[in-house]
């Protein structure tokens, strides 16, 4: 799963439907994927403008996931239930 930020309208549709809540709209302008993305492909399906590339089962590049975790972990503190944005392994 890869978001093309040239196409993305930052509407949050993908975030709201992501079953494991593995996305985050960081600073209102960058969608990031978290390590617990299951590659289900729903975010790509819902995106009204087709900004997300990736078919079910196609892995999100590890670098992107790591970047996602790093982007939000600065403030996360691990008190959530695993569905939050705390840094994951």
């Amino acid at each position: 799963m890869i978001v093309d930020n040239n196409v993305c309208l930052h509407c949050g549709a993908c975030i709201g439907i992501c079953p494991p809540n593995a996305m985050f709209l960081y600073e209102t302008s960058t969608i990031v994927f978290l390590p617990h993305c299951t590659e289900c492909g729903l975010c790509a399906q819902v995106c009204p403008v087709g900004a997300i590339d990736g078919t079910p089962g196609e892995p999100t590049p590890p670098a992107l996931r790591k970047a996602g975790a790093a982007a939000v972990s600065g403030s996360g503190n691990g008190n959530g239930n695993g569905h939050g944005v705390e840094a994951a392994p």
């Binding site: 309208l9 509407c11 549709a13 209102t28 790509a44 995106c47 939050g84 944005v85």
Partner: protein, 399 residues
């Protein structure tokens, strides 16, 4: 790291969040409203159609500043072009309003501020904090600086994204048949009739509809909602809307002033919207009307109810799930029955063929119903075409 202590923290300054903050502050609670955008109400992510019926209840007085247009009614178009006109009186409202949503959201936030709420912009929550299973605040950032807010009650008003609730373990996940992907252009230089909000049904928008809500003489919000389970290819939603607009002579010549994407939930009421220290309101609680996809009214009403309960909980010194459950009982009493009925109706509507839509609209265009509800509509269809509503019998059991 900045640390703030407050009584009530509201995450998200949409209509639901501002209402919650207003009523919490009016109830005497120290209230903080945080919003991740730099400007409340902008960018607009909405068709901007709303009725007036709920406004008084929420202390909202119609104001020219946020009214773009007042309509007499709605026109509902069958796939074959036949049209049924519903005037607002039949629907039990005075007149419908097409909003300036950016101004509307700001006006509601102003009400919260006047009531005493504090506001932080460009401030987001990226996680919740908890102690013994009770939500005790959030962590996040404010203008780039690490932030921790300690609050006795948190109200999740973070819209469709609905992450605060999920971080706290509330199940707000949606089935693909209970979500519509949406796309809208504000088109300028078009032909439209500013007296009506128009709805187009059928396979042009599988499981949803296309809307044209006039903002004025020659500008309208033209958008589409499509059921997620009926979407196949990449950017299907956009292709469906673009293709439809291209076939409408009065619209095809228009050019966009803005483009808006998003999603709306069309699910049945959630089993749980409250946990220790946390209440969910508006879209975050999935309180959108499953038939119309409209969520402003229910957002405001639920926000008000949650704000009031938050203030009461603080006065009672009890933020247990049991106390906060008062909020859940209140929104259920106010809107659950309608939401459930409309969800059941939606489940049937999404399966109807163009042919059936044509016949239903033709029937309804003939009868003049004094009072329009899901029930009276179905009853009218049943009289002429019992076969069409056979499937809907369960919705016809009680008025």
């Amino acid at each position: 790291m900045r640390t703030i202590e407050t009584d009530v923290l509201v995450v998200g300054a949409g209509p639901a969040g501002s209402m919650a903050a207003k009523y919490a502050a009016l109830g005497g609670a120290r209230t903080l409203l945080i919003e991740k955008r730099q400007e409340i109400g902008s960018p607009v992510r909405c068709g901007e159609g709303v009725s007036r019926s709920w406004m008084e209840e929420c202390g909202v007085k119609p104001d020219p500043r946020w009214i773009a247009n007042q309509v007499e009614g709605a026109r509902i178009y069958a796939p074959n072009g036949a049209c049924m006109i519903v005037n607002e009186k039949q629907a039990g409202n005075e007149v419908g309003i097409v909003l300036e949503r950016d101004q509307f959201d700001k006006a509601l936030a102003e009400q919260a501020i006047k009531a005493g709420a504090d506001v932080l912009l460009k401030t987001y929550a990226s996680n919740i904090t908890r102690s013994n299973g009770t939500v005790t605040g959030i962590t996040g950032k404010t203008l780039g600086e690490d932030l921790e807010v300690k609050a006795k009650v948190v109200i999740g008003a973070d819209g469709f994204e609905s992450q605060v609730g999920r971080w706290a373990g509330l199940h707000t996940g949606l089935k693909t048949r209970d979500v519509d992907a949406t796309l809208q252009y504000r088109l300028a230089n078009i032909d439209c009739d500013r007296r009506y909000c128009d709805f187009y049904l059928g396979s042009i928008a599988p499981g949803g509809y296309i809307w044209v809500f006039p903002k004025g003489e020659d500008v309208a919000n033209v958008g589409i909602g499509v059921q997620l389970s009926q979407l196949q290819g990449k950017a299907d939603t956009r292709s469906l809307l673009d293709r439809w607009i291209a076939r409408q002579p009065g619209l095809a010549k228009g050019k966009p002033l803005d483009i808006v994407a998003g999603a709306v939930s069309t699910c049945k009421p959630l089993p749980k919207t409250v946990t220790g220290g946390l209440m969910l309101v508006g879209d975050a609680a999935r309180l959108i009307d499953p038939i119309t996809g409209g969520g402003i009214a229910n957002g405001c009403i639920s926000g008000k109810l949650a704000g009031e309960v938050a203030a009461q909980a603080l006065q009672a010194g009890d933020v247990s799930p049991q106390f906060l459950h008062k909020y859940e009982r209140a929104w259920r009493a106010r809107m659950e029955k309608t939401l459930l009925r409309n969800w059941m109706a939606k489940e049937k509507l999404v399966k109807l063929s163009d042919d059936v839509f044509n016949r239903i609209i033709a029937t309804l265009a003939e009868v003049n119903l004094p009072h329009l509800t899901t029930y009276t509509l179905l009853k009218a269809v049943q009289e002429k075409h019992p076969e069409l509503v056979k499937e809907l019998a369960e919705l016809l059991t009680e008025p």
